[in-house]
Structure formats: C-alpha cells, structure tokens
C-alpha cells in the first residue's frame, strides 16, 4: 500500500488534515441543522433551549415546517419536478448510452462532446436561454393565432426541461460508463440460447444497466431537488422548495423553520444517497 512510504509523524499530520477537512465539510450543515432545534425566533446564538416546535408546532410565530403550507407545497413541487426530471433524464441517458456505445454514425465523437457540454454551461445561462426561447415561441404563436401555449411559460414544464437540459448529461455519462463495461458477448450468448432481441434487451441488457439507472436516477433527483440557478428563471407560480426557501430568506426573513427544512432535507438526501450506494452494489463484482 502506498502509505508505507510516509513516516508515522507525517501520516498523523496527514490524518489530522483529512479530519480537519471533514470538519470543514460538516460545519455549515451542522450549523444549518442544529439551529432547527433552538427555541428562538432567530437562527442564531445564544442557545435558548431545545425545541421541536420548528417541525411540529402549528401556530405562529413558531409555525413548524409540517404546518407551513407554503413550505409543504414547495416540498411537493420539488418532489414532482425532481421525479419528472429523473425519469426523463434516465430515459434519455439510457437511449444516449445505447446510441454512443452501440452505434456508429457520422460525427459521433464530436456529438459526444456536445452531449457533455450542457454540464459545463452556467445554470443561469441555461435558464435564461430556455426562458427566452420558450417565450419567443409562445409570443410568436400568440401574435399569429392568439393562442396561448401556457406550457411554454414559466412553470413546472419549463423548470423540468431546464433542469433536464443539463442533468441528462449526468445520467448519460453514468449509464454510458456502465454500458461500456457490458460484455456484448452476454447478449450474443442470450441470442445463442434462443432469446429474441427484445427478450435479450429486457432480460440481459437492461437488468445489467439497472444499478446505474437507479444510481443515475437518484443523482438526478438530488441535483434537481437542490437546483436553484436554472430554476430561478423558469419558475412560475409553482415554486419548488429552494425557490420558496430563498424567497423566504430574502423577502420575508429567516426563522429556524428554514433550519428545520434544511435538517429534514439533509436526512432525506442522506437516506437517498445511502440507497444509491446500496443500489450500486447488489453483489455484482464487475
């Protein structure tokens, strides 16, 4: 192992550094989480005592998150959006994987780069470009026929499309990587054993891809859930949670209920992340 080369003192120093790094990683989350339990109207020291009011209390001024309908509906929209985004992204990620791993077509390498590009375009620009594009179409249609295509106006559909526009790259990369590892002789073996092409797809190839599809779906879900920059420009009246929280922070004032939501999200995402790890390794050493 590569560690054998370092002296014990150096190794200890190294470990301390790594430890400090993880403290750094945890600190803001810890701060955001812990104040959810502070019995105060402001998320700040001094510590006023422990309370669960910011989760469960049902009256102002300490309205708990589970009674705050705006936060709850934000949570709901976030969930719906994230679900749609992950389904769509996993689907397109899968077709892209087959396209780029299995098929030959002109400009394949260049198009593969094109597929990666959305990941590095600033989210703000994705948001505005899609907003402008959709508005232009909708306005043109309106000007021509006085027909309003509300799907092209800021709202859930645009948010989903906007997030999808770069999350699809993530899922494509994850699923493509897995498909590259797929030994095509498995498919030939199945054909050889008498299976039809469709059967091969559903009994061999897709099951092989499943862990990657699940993991990609979860990543897509998390990234969608926390996205702000792109969503900001595309959101209509159905605001997902990040937007709701931002509005709350910037336009109303933060109370520990925001910490409560943060805490709730940390726990939720933590569980989801754990799930994705489990999904990745059901005893398949490949």
């Amino acid at each position: 192992m590569a560690r054998s080369m370092t002296s014990p003192a150096l190794l200890l120093g190294y470990r301390l550094y790594v430890g400090a790094f993880f403290v750094f990683l945890a600190a803001p989350l810890f701060a955001a989480g812990i104040f959810a339990f502070n019995d105060s109207l402001f998320p700040a020291l001094p510590w006023q005592g422990f309370t669960l009011d910011w989760f469960f209390n049902d009256t102002e001024p300490k309205l708990g998150m589970f009674h705050d309908r705006r936060l709850l509906s934000g949570l709901y929209y976030s969930f719906v959006i994230a679900l749609l985004v992950s389904l769509l992204s996993v689907f397109v990620g899968t077709t892209n994987a087959f396209l780029f791993v299995r098929r030959e077509f002109p400009f394949k390498n260049a198009l593969y780069i094109v597929m990666i590009v959305p990941l590095v375009i600033p989210g703000v620009i994705l948001g505005i470009s899609i907003l402008v594009f959709a508005s232009n179409i909708a306005n043109a249609v309106w000007d021509a026929w006085e027909v309003e295509i509300s799907l092209l106006r800021p709202g859930i559909v645009l948010v989903v499309l906007g997030q999808f526009s770069f999350i699809a790259t993530i899922t494509s990369l994850v699923i493509t990587a897995r498909l590259r590892k797929f030994d095509t002789s498995l498919e030939e073996a199945a054909l050889n054993l008498g299976a039809s092409r469709a059967r091969v797809l559903f009994t061999i190839t897709l099951p092989f891809l499943r862990p990657a599809m699940i993991a990609a779906g979860i990543v897509a879900f998390l990234v969608s859930f926390e996205n702000f920059n792109t969503t900001l420009f595309l959101v209509g009246s159905e605001s997902p949670l990040t937007i709701t929280m931002y509005d709350r922070m910037a336009k109303i004032g933060s109370t520990p209920v925001l910490n409560a939501v943060s805490f709730f999200l940390m726990v939720g995402s933590g569980l989801l992340a754990l799930l994705s790890v489990v999904a990745q390794r059901p005893g398949q050493p490949d």
Binding site: F21, N229, Y246, M249
Partner: protein, 288 residues
Amino acid sequence: MSRDARRLSLILLFAPFALWILLLIALPHLGILALSMREKVAPRVYEFGFGNYAEFITEPIYWNTLLRTGSMSLLVTFLALIIGFPIAYYIAKIAGKRARGALFLMCLIPLWVSDLIRAFGWILLLRESGVISRSLQWMGLTQSGIEFLYNDAAVIVGLVYTVILFMIVPLVSTLDGMGDDMIEAGYNLGGNSLTVLRRIIVPYAMPGIVAGCIVVFMMTAGSYLTPILLGGKNSSWFTEQIYNQFISRFNWEGGAAFGVLLLLFTSGVVWIGLRLSGQSLANTVARS
C-alpha cells in the same frame, strides 16, 4: 437485424438526443445570441447591432466584474485543487478499503443540501453574531464580535466548499486507477516523495485534475447564490449582472449579450487550460 430495422432503431435512439440538444441547448443558445444582437432604440423598437457588446466594452463596471469573476473563479479552482488533491489521494491510496467508501460518501455530504442551505449554514457560522465570532468571544480571544461574512474571503470559502467535491470525485477516480505499484516503482527507482509526486502521481492524475478544474471553474464562474449571499458590498459576480439585466432592468438584450460573453469567456479559459495541459475534453470531463 435487417438493414431497415437497424436504421430505424438508430433513428429512434438518435431522436431523444437530437431533440434534447437541439431544443434545449442549441436553439436557445442561438436564440440568446440573436437576442444579444438586438439593440433597443425606443420602447418596442429594436434593430440589429452590436450595441450591447459595445456597451460591455465601453463600461468598465462590466468587464471588471467579468474579470473579477474569472480571476476569483481561477483562485477558487486552484484552492479546490490544492485542498482537494491530498484528500482525494488519501481516499484513493491511503485509506483502507472500507474507510475508502465511507470517506468518499462523506465527501458527497454537501451535495445533500442545496446551494442555498450551504450558504445559509455559512452565514450562521460567519456573521458577526454567528457561531464562530461568538465562540471566539466566549473563549475570550476577542472582545467585540468579528465580522467574517460579507467579504471576498467568505465568498471564496463558500465557493470552495460548494465545488470541492467536484474536484475530489474525478481525482479519486483517476487516482484509483493508478496502481500502488506505480508509486512504489517511483520510490524503488530512487525517487523521493517530491519526485514521485511531481513526476508520477501528478502526471498520472492529469486527466482527473483537468476534469476537476474544468467542472469547478465552470461551476464557480456560473454560481449565483453563494457570491450574492456571502459577498460584501464590493463583490459583484457576473451572473448577478446577468440577473440584474434580466430582472432589475428588464434588459433582455443586454443580459443575453452578457450571457454570451460569460459563455465565451469561460469556454476560452477552459480551452486555454486544455491547451496548456495537453488534454482534451473527451479524455477528461467525459471520463469522470
């Protein structure tokens, strides 16, 4: 499969990709490109021209902000690399097999919450009445509270925090692929730790380093919430300018021009970076 079936299935596989890239990436970007070349001459009267770009060039505020955003993003990228590399190396090469997975997962923890909550957390820690300042007071290290928030350092800390895992992940995966025997061979042939790091580990990890730097740089330059929420009165970020153009000034044309400029600028920086490191997008970002 017959020829026709193959062609049909190719088309079916190609369609989602083409629709995605065309409708959500290419046309919208062409759209803002077109929009950016529209000058407003009077309410509801526009004509073609490069006025929005001229405005950018003649107005130091704008290009200063862009340069500031660019240079701070480079700084953040550099810091993320310097801080993240030892961590990635520890995870990939030093931690035991079990600890490795756990540490890797712990690196992903910041991803569990949104930018907003991360920034919120930093605000709670850094502000004058925040946890750090209060703790220092409590320990008697300082009399009055100290403001750690609302300055460039806070922005950099917050940004490094947000992006560092995107540096660590590709680094871990390339370093993972490097056998321990490579490092041992480096020592065995007489190299000291510095030589091994400089001549073997870093060159080997180059694709990962470049991939990490590209993603981190782009994310930083494109970030919005962190610089706004943690930044001080002097800190403007270029995305904020874009937002202002669009939202506060209803100046879509100007905002579009800024968007195009940001994209060109960051792509240019990435291109130069790839050139200098002799890597390509395909063997860096595409692999991680």
